[in-house]
């Protein structure tokens, strides 16, 4: 008896995949609608393990979907809306071409719309799921919020919604004091916040005009993603606001809901950002660490407690400080950063609305400027460059303002994300080491001298501790030294390396460049000669190493034998004298 004949393409890997065209047919949708549906539902094309098997022997790269995914899509009620919409578009086009204005108006009113709330819920069954996937959403919305009028592909309404939602989110971060790390890169500002125990990172573009340079980007696709993410962030915002006793939607000062020019919105956004929100109940929602042991290890527990403490102090970093932002400094990002740590901000009321106090205010503690010098400096405040804020946030303490004074060459702005990448024993650049050492010393200076604000001492203490545990073990022990000492120390370090600054710097640079070029040349050696080259270099190195070893040996030997030689010499001399004397005596 023969078994039932299996039809080709019904079993195994082939039956699991479906090409895009047949998926379209199955769903009875057009390509545009299909793409929209896939993006909204989170269904992506797949790469099979064996393309040849799936595609019936052909190895052409085709866009394949999994049958399961498509079956999943088939149950989506939104598909009916899409179908309605395509029918509607046909009708309205007809009416437009017939010039039936009234009909068009009436149809416009009753145009089919769709709602994606249930999809958000479906893709993120719990709130935490949604927050875990917040990064993409934030990046996109913050980016879209900076767009000018883009035409048909990205409607103005969408851009305005992005602006509103992003500001609302920023307000939450401010109110919850959730920001942890800041990195100013050449691409944009990277922020990292701790939201409901999840680390969320996002990018905010620099405050420069939008350029239409990138042609590869499909704006339509991005707009669909944004459409989904606006709904998602809206609901997330609602819940976040409720969780810290804020009313949602908040009344944002200065935000006008008209169809005004988008170009002017940057100012209004900052205006909105600089105002505190209305709280229903003002309550201290500082979570106290529980004593329930989470780790078996006591050390780990201790570390966790310390971290908690450090974060607590970081949240109050700029509390009680008043900042004034000069006109050339980017306002939006800095206002956000400062307010996230409890500082107050204002700026010149002539250059943008929303200033809360004037430049002449005597309570201002820090004046942030980004120019070589300011003519009429006022007493009683620090004039610092904006990098002071970034670095202070990342180091979790207020750094020495002198290093960031106007006209000073700034220390490098190091990435706060690097720590996680480094393993133990990895190379840490000396600049970072120096800063770490300085920071720990700073805090000790505060303790000792107490010439600065007395209030901050407690925080500084904590910071000191936390810095110590964050650092490598070698640099923090000598934290008792004063500030000046630290400076001299750093100079010493430099002396060992480069000696006088001005001359050797250039030489070093030149040397570096030469080295770079040399290495490049090395890379371009053809394969045939490479082996030989490496051989030669190896022998050279060995020779050099041997030579060094020998010289060292020699030196050591000389050192050891110096005394004996002297003695011998002296003995010889004495002997000679003696002989001479004896000879003379004999004569």
């Amino acid at each position: 008896m023969t078994g039932k004949k299996i039809k080709k393409g019904t079993r195994g890997e082939v039956a699991k995949y479906i090409s895009r065209n047949s998926a379209l047919k199955k769903l009875m949708l057009g390509l545009k609608d299909f793409r929209r549906l896939c993006i909204l539902k989170g269904v992506y094309p797949r790469e099979p393990k064996n393309r040849k098997k799936v595609q019936g022997g052909s190895t052409v790269q085709r866009c394949l979907y999994q049958v399961k995914d498509i079956r999943f899509l088939m149950h989506e009620p939104i598909i009916w809306r899409f179908r309605e919409m395509s029918a509607f578009m046909k009708k309205i086009k007809k009416a437009i071409h017939r010039n039936e204005k009234q009909r068009v108006e009436r149809m416009d009113e009753n145009s089919p719309k769709y709602n994606i709330d249930h999809i958000v819920k479906e893709r993120y069954p719990t709130f935490i799921d949604a927050i875990r996937d917040l990064e993409d959403c934030l990046c996109l919305l913050f980016l879209f919020a900076t767009f000018p009028t883009m035409g048909k592909k990205v409607p103005n309404q969408m851009i305005r919604l992005c602006q509103r939602l992003s500001i609302e989110f920023q307000h939450y971060v401010i109110e919850a004091r959730a920001l942890r790390k800041v990195f100013c890169s050449i691409k944009g500002y990277y922020f990292q916040a701790d939201i409901k125990g999840q680390t969320v990172t996002w990018v905010m573009p620099h405050c420069v005009p939008f350029s239409h340079a990138c042609e590869d980007v499909d704006l339509k696709v991005m707009a669909i993603f944004t459409e989904f993410y606006t709904t998602m962030l809206g609901f997330i915002n609602f819940r976040l606001y409720n969780s810290i006793n804020l009313t949602y939607p908040p009344k944002l000062a200065g935000m006008v809901e008209s169809n005004a020019d988008i170009a002017e919105d940057e100012n209004t956004r900052v205006y909105a950002l600089n105002r505190a929100l209305h709280r229903v109940i003002i309550a201290e929602d500082v979570e106290k660490p529980d004593d329930i042991p989470m780790y078996d290890d006591d050390e780990k527990m201790e570390e966790a407690k310390k971290e908690q403490k450090a974060v607590e102090s970081q949240r109050k970093l700029f509390e009680g400080l008043k900042f004034f932002i000069n006109r050339e400094v980017p306002r939006e990002s800095l206002v956000f950063m400062i307010r996230c740590f409890g500082g107050e901000v204002s700026w010149d009321s002539n250059c943008a609305p929303g200033a809360t106090y004037k430049e002449g205010d005597e309570r201002i503690t820090h004046h942030i400027a980004d120019r070589p010098n300011i003519a009429n400096k006022k007493l009683g405040r620090f004039y610092v460059q904006p990098q002071w804020i970034f670095d202070s946030i990342n180091r979790r303490i207020k750094l020495n303002e002198k290093d960031y004074a106007l006209g000073e060459t700034l220390p490098p702005h190091l990435s706060p994300f690097v720590e996680g990448w480094r393993r133990e024993g990895d190379y840490i650049p000396p600049e970072e080491k120096a800063i770490l050492a300085e920071a720990s010393q700073d805090s000790s200076v505060m303790e000792d001298g107490g010439n600065e604000n007395v209030e901050e001492n407690d925080e500084e203490n904590e910071n000191g501790e936390e810095m110590e545990e964050g650092e490598e073990g070698d640099s923090e022990n000598d934290s008792e030294e004063g500030e000046e000492d630290s400076e001299t120390e750093t100079e010493k370090v430099e002396e060992v390396k480069i000696g006088t600054k001005a001359i050797l710097d250039k030489a070093k640079l030149k040397e570096q460049q030469e080295k770079e070029e040399y290495r490049l040349r090395e890379m371009l050696i053809p394969n045939k000669q490479r082996r030989l080259y490496h051989k030669i270099m190896k022998t050279r190195k060995r020779n050099a190493w041997e030579a060094r070893k020998m010289t060292a040996k020699r030196e050591q030997w000389e050192k050891d034998n110096a005394e004996t030689k002297k003695k011998e010499k002296a003995a010889k001399k004495a002997a000679a004298k003696e002989t001479a004397a004896s000879v003379a005596a004999a004569e």
Binding site: C63, C139, L140, K187, M222, F225, Y248, E328, H413, F417
Partner: protein, 515 residues
Amino acid sequence: MKPIFFQTHTMAQKPVVMGPPKITRASKKNKKSWRVNIDVTEVEEGLEEERFNERIGGGHEKKKDEDLFMLDSAGAEKENEEKERLKKMKEEEKKAPVYSKNLSKLKAKNFKCFALLDGLPGAEDPIPNRKKQPISKVVVKALEEKDKKIVSQIDKIRKSRQRAMDEKKKRENIDEEYLRTKFAHDLWDDEDPDVNKKEVDKLLLSSQWIKHNTRVHIDTMTSNKHVPKVNMQKNKTLVPAVELPHAGQSYNPSVEEHQEILWKAAMIEIEKEKKAKKLERQLTGMFPTEDKAPTYREYLEEMAQGIPELGGKVEESDDDDDDAEGEDEAGFTKETKLKTKQQRRREILRRREEYLRKKAKAEKIEMDKIVSVKTYKKEMNATERAVQEKRERREAREVEKLKGPTTLSKYEYKPQNIEIKLSDEIRGNLRTLKPEGSLLEDRFKSLQRRRIVETREFQVAKKRNAKVVLNRKRLMGFEEELRVHNDRVRQKKKNKSFKMTKSRKMSSTRIESLI
């Protein structure tokens, strides 16, 4: 104006003729002449009037005053009356079958035509005891059926209208605009998604004894269609949504980190260059350039190699080959020698010995196997370890694959350029910072890297009905001559100007020499 019923029917007036009336005599011989010549209008009118009076319930002279005249009381009462009348009508309407409803509605509007249909007021039925003819049952049934149909249709329309209204209301409640802008409720209010499910279904569907297919069957049969709740197919990529920037991408980086990223970028560029060079070498480099390409003559020469008739050289190695062939032929002619008996015996003996030796050896090896279990164990362990390592390596490779993009469509993923600032471009302050790269592109490429969006290339749509335009040149035959002529004129002018400048130069040199 008098109502139509009270218009008096006057006698037909005849044309008045002046002078004494003529006595006309007409024959009254037969019926026809009677009809023609005798005026019966008076009689007819009289009869008509009588009938009319009958229709309207008697002449007005017979009627009482109250019937003929009415007292115009206040307008309010009239309105009330009107209302009552309408009310009555409506009630009647409700009672009445649907097919007569429309009619009654029209009647309510007091059209004259319908008034006439109602019959004239006051006329009595000429047959006093008329029996009302019943409508036949068949007709009634048909009418009723029709009625039902109409009712169901009306219901349908009413319902659909209601549905449309509800939907519109819903829409108004949700949002006017195409994007959701109002977020007024907590989406994750009930965290447990299964709360709303029916208990029975829950029991059935969660039971571990029921197979998946059965579950689907139950679902479909109980009209609880099996809807997959969550998309089980997760995206497996290991690329994070936001890739953290390299420390060297800081706006004010430290030297080492900056060098590191510069090297990274340089390596990529070098690789690219290498590839390009390789391509160049393997494709265009393989062929001579135009000036070094062989001419036809050279080609012919090459083709003529080895053909003396065409002037080509002949290689001289042919003779050796001939010799070799001769030797081979000689080999074929060798005779095979027959073996002697002794030789055969010895051979057999040798073979047996060989066989026995081999057997003994095999036995020995077999025996050794038992002794050398340890080595076998070692070997097995080694192979196992090798397999394990191979598997691990493969798994690692697969994980590594997940960290990058994959080809989901026929277009290859084009990696982004690393955003860097060269050493002399770093300003070290925020004011003069010029951002590198485009975040929009970064996001888009990130989607591609994470296998969310397939790689695409913009397709330029072809113009379907591009018009073919013939660019005709109508040559008239004298163009060539004209061109030659123009050239000549131009040349002349040139020469002239050259001469002029020459003469001017000469003159100037002369002047200089004079000075």
